[in-house]
Symmetry: C2
Subunit: 592 residues, 2 copies
């Protein structure tokens, strides 16, 4: 059975030596000193390894089952959920007034990576509740906040997001779920929603569904969509639970993975709903929390890659097979461990350099969220809004590929379920799809985010890279291995942006045909920037003296691999982008 | 449920207009005229679509089950197997004297792609039988051939290959299965083999296991390995079945995919075995058929990509979501079909250009097998031996990636099992692993095949490319779109080979660290060559007049996409290769 050890040391390095969070002028960050975050991360890591990891295989094997409309989670989930609640983990970064601990989002993200890595299907129950609670926090009335948030912050009640319908996912303007206004100000919600994660289960007293629907008589299409709170059980004025609402689970889906999470068809039959936010402004309300939700999914991609990598690494050290071509490394044994072989190294280094670089990228993004929300900083908000599709699309695509690499290290043992490596790839696969399929992320990036606010956020990103290069140009230890490759990659990104500006004007298909490559190009530049920053931090530590030189030397070596082997991919992405839309769009649909 | 339509038209184009098989001087090819191959392919395509495709989901859902040592295949498999036998398909390319139809391997490969695409798990039962029969054909005594081949060619008896043991897969020198010589010339085989596809099932009267083991007292390691025939039921002198042999299935594995194929732990307990080929030359006997087996696996990668692509294409044409950014294409409907969107196009074109290019590569490789075996041509044998790891590794890696792309077109519907897209990726995943994991293919390519016979086969490949470029240099319609990109990619491949020669001498890790990239670089150049040849054939057809210009124009457009968008990947592979082994090998194992 796979194991998982939380990468606390690496997270601490990123938080304190790369991002230097406790020195950042973000409200609440002054409390984020190394000892404090270390204590929180250690505690979370223990729960991840000891409570959640053992349930990961159980969840995959048993799955959820539905009997008479009741959905049962896998053995042990209920107890573990109670333990999570007891520890106050679901409310870690929620406001104190609703029972949360008011920690920054960046710390919640680090903890979230651990929980997701240990058990993605399980962690989604609280992740979705977090998302729904955030929406109520921003858009809810005082009464709504007081009614729902204390219970949701504690996860006594869980939450869901209901967007997709059988005939529409990305194009939500096509939705048919309708909301009929009632005399008392509530609405009767009728329609069918699909792919509702945690839509029904046995771990909470109540489930608060956030449902997109169209108010009868409102505008056509996406402009007529509103957001509603639809509790499974109506809530009495005193906060106690009342009658069962007209919402039920029609079936749970058989899926490729995340079997421990119930993916439900939800039927709304004149269910009582309460408008959340303004009429016909449902999409805006959803989008408020979209950045966070998408960053959370990017985190899942990274998390599965980390968990899979850890196991592949152990296997590569244990499994004896063949000999080192330069001479035996285990001469007394029947063979050398897999890790001596260059191609196994290539795979392990790809995984390691991705997870460490991706983690820095993710946590940097999380500090931008904190700066935007806690610091009310509009430029941070703009920058993270630009980076969000990259975090989501790049980290989940690459994260998935890394789970495939990890599985491959096991040979045939990676394909049978016994070793658990198949589950990592099957679970990781969903993150490329939900919260906006990655093609939609690429479209969002190139079609909207690049030009947002006159393109000033992408300029801010380039300035960041330029500043870093400039500030360190005389650092000989960084130059050839880190600065030069970063500069080259960043130039590729700029050239791609330039191409879109020039050719996208003539024909938008020239830009959109390259959107996916651009998202990946951008992701590589971000990881290149992270690696350059981490290398700088490592060099600093080595120069100023450290009791753990191996850690920093390893960091540098891992970074050199990324810069030499992975970052050059930007050149091919650029060539593809610059080939334009002609070859992509040439065929008539009928001629495919 | 997914559907499948055999790509007969495309196969005919490749066989007759690109490879011009009936004009090739290979024994038996003169009969391969267009009408003849068309009739065979049409018939096979019907069986694939009508008999095998409907059982694909059944096999995945039901899987195999074992009760009291008996393994039951999924509902319908037995009847379908009987139908395959009745049609004589298992013996299509086997010798007439054993009941086969003596068709060339290239035709068997085309038919095999259809069957695999329709139902990989099912088709493996006869595929493994084919492999085992081939080994007996080459290495068996007359008596062995007469005893086993007629029944195996007809698939009344099926066959298996037993290599892997719990502690050894790639490194077969570690194996423990032992063979004790008996007075009558037979051996008693004792040991455990794992991952034995089709090891036990209910579709054949007898199962002929080919088992690698070590004769007691023989040399240590790989030099002491011999190959044995171990029938499930001993065969009496009159050909009737005798006593049950000491071989049994210990369990069947739970796997990520190919659930319809029984993957067995096989226990040999003093089972009676007969030496196949020479003592201690078991590996050589296995390797004889390795090229064919590996090409067969490459074919599976392509086949799953084709099946997945066909369904993704249909979905992209049907599913209405969003609007074409250049103006509605379905103005009377609520939205445009997915296929209008550039990023969906990018994905579909990647799939289409891979499957068509890969098919040409595969069938070209199959003609080399025919030339080598039927024509006893040593250079063809050398060339296909060089290309085999590329066919296996590149087509299965890329084939898998294509199934992931196809699944992505479906959004959330791709993740639930209902639509069948998950099965394509889960089934395709195994092809990257078995018959030598793709890392081992890369090692074989760079460590052995490149320098085989003084490197003359890779030189022959480069000559082939050069000849094509030279012969067509004045063809203006080919030059910019096809010849120039092919030339550039081929130069990258040569530069990589040069790097290996120079730097691999100094340190073999410099070559082996780039082996995987080299395999993919080589694969792209092969597909580039195929596309250039197909483009030439298409242009010829358009110039000489055709009643179906759309087919050829589509072929050209698809090729242009590959050359412009996919082939440039060779540059990044080269950069990675030239970065050498330093960053790959830098870390001590303990510091990972």
């Amino acid at each position: 059975m796979p194991s998982y050890t939380a990468p606390t040391k690496d997270m601490q390095f990123i938080l304190h030596e790369v991002l230097d969070i406790s020195a950042q002028d973000i409200p609440g960050y002054d409390e984020m000193e190394r000892d404090f975050t270390g204590a929180v991360l250690d505690e979370a890591g223990k729960i991840a390894s000891e409570v959640l990891t053992p349930l990961n295989t159980v969840g995959d094997t048993e799955g959820c089952r539905m009997e008479n409309g009741v959905v049962y989670t896998p053995t042990g989930f209920k107890d573990a959920f109670a333990q999570m609640k007891e520890g106050g983990w679901p409310g870690l970064d929620m406001p104190e007034e609703y029972g949360g601990q008011n920690m920054p989002y960046v710390l919640g993200t680090a903890v979230g990576e651990m929980f997701s890595a240990a058990n993605q299907a399980f962690t989604m129950y609280q992740g979705l509740t977090h998302g729904a609670a955030s929406a109520i926090l921003v858009h809810g009335t005082e009464e709504q906040k007081n009614t729902y948030l204390p219970k949701m912050v504690s996860c006594d009640w869980t939450g869901t997001m209901n967007l997709t319908e059988p005939h529409c996912g990305t194009d939500l303007g096509l939705m048919r779920t309708k909301a009929e206004p009632q005399a008392d100000g509530s609405y009767k919600i009728t329609g069918q929603k699909i792919f509702i994660s945690a839509g029904e289960h046995d771990m909470a007293d109540n489930i608060i569904h956030l449902v997109l629907g169209k108010i009868v008589g409102g505008p056509e299409g996406i402009k007529g969509v509103s957001l509603f709170i639809v509790p499974k059980f109506l809530v009495n004025e005193d906060g106690s639970l009342g009658a069962r609402n007209g919402v039920s689970c029609g079936k749970i889906e058989e899926k490729m993975g995340i079997h421990g999470n119930s993916t439900c068809v939800m039927n709304y039959d004149e269910a009582t709903g309460y408008l959340l936010g303004e009429e016909h402004k449902g999409m805006r309300a959803m989008f408020t929390m979209m950045n966070e939700a998408r960053i959370g999914v990017g985190m899942q991609g990274l998390a599965q890659a980390e968990a899979a990598f850890q196991n592949a690494l152990e296997y590569a050290k244990d499994r004896l097979q063949g000999r080192d071509v330069t001479g035996p490394k285990n001469p007394d044994g029947p063979a050398d461990p897999l890790i001596v072989h260059p191609d196994i190294r290539r795979s392990l280094m790809a995984q390691k350099s991705f997870t460490e670089g991706g983690r820095a990228f993710l946590l940097w993004g999380a500090t931008l969220i904190d700066r935007a929300h806690r610091g009310e900083d509009a430029s941070a908000d703009g920058l993270v809004s630009l980076l969000t599709p990259v975090i989501k699309g790049f980290l989940t695509d690459q994260g998935y590929d890394m789970t495939v690499l990890a599985q491959q290290v096991y040979g045939g043992h990676g394909y049978i379920e016994e070793w658990g490596m198949s589950q990592f790839t099957r679970d990781a696969r969903i993150a490329m799809i939900y919260e906006g399929a990655n093609g939609v992320q690429a479209l969002d990036l190139v079609g909207r985010k690049l030009s947002q606010d006159g393109g000033k956020h992408v300029m801010a990103f380039f300035d960041l890279v330029k500043d870093f290069l400039k500030k360190n140009e005389h650092n000989a230890a960084l130059k050839a291995d880190f600065l030069d490759p970063l500069k080259a990659a960043s130039k590729d990104l700029q050239a791609a942006g330039m191409y879109f500006m020039q050719e996208g004007m003539k024909n938008p298909n020239n830009a959109l045909s390259g959107s996916y490559d651009f998202m990946h190009l951008f992701g590589h530049v971000c990881l290149g920037l992270m690696w350059a920053q981490m290398a700088k931090a490592a060099l600093t530590a080595l120069e100023t003296g450290t009791s753990d030189p191996d850690f920093y030397e390893t960091k540098l070596a891992t970074g050199r691999f990324y810069m030499a082997r992975q970052l050059p991919m930007t050149a091919t992405h650029l060539v593809r982008i610059q080939s334009g839309g002609d070859t992509v769009m040439a065929l008539e649909a009928a001629n495919f």
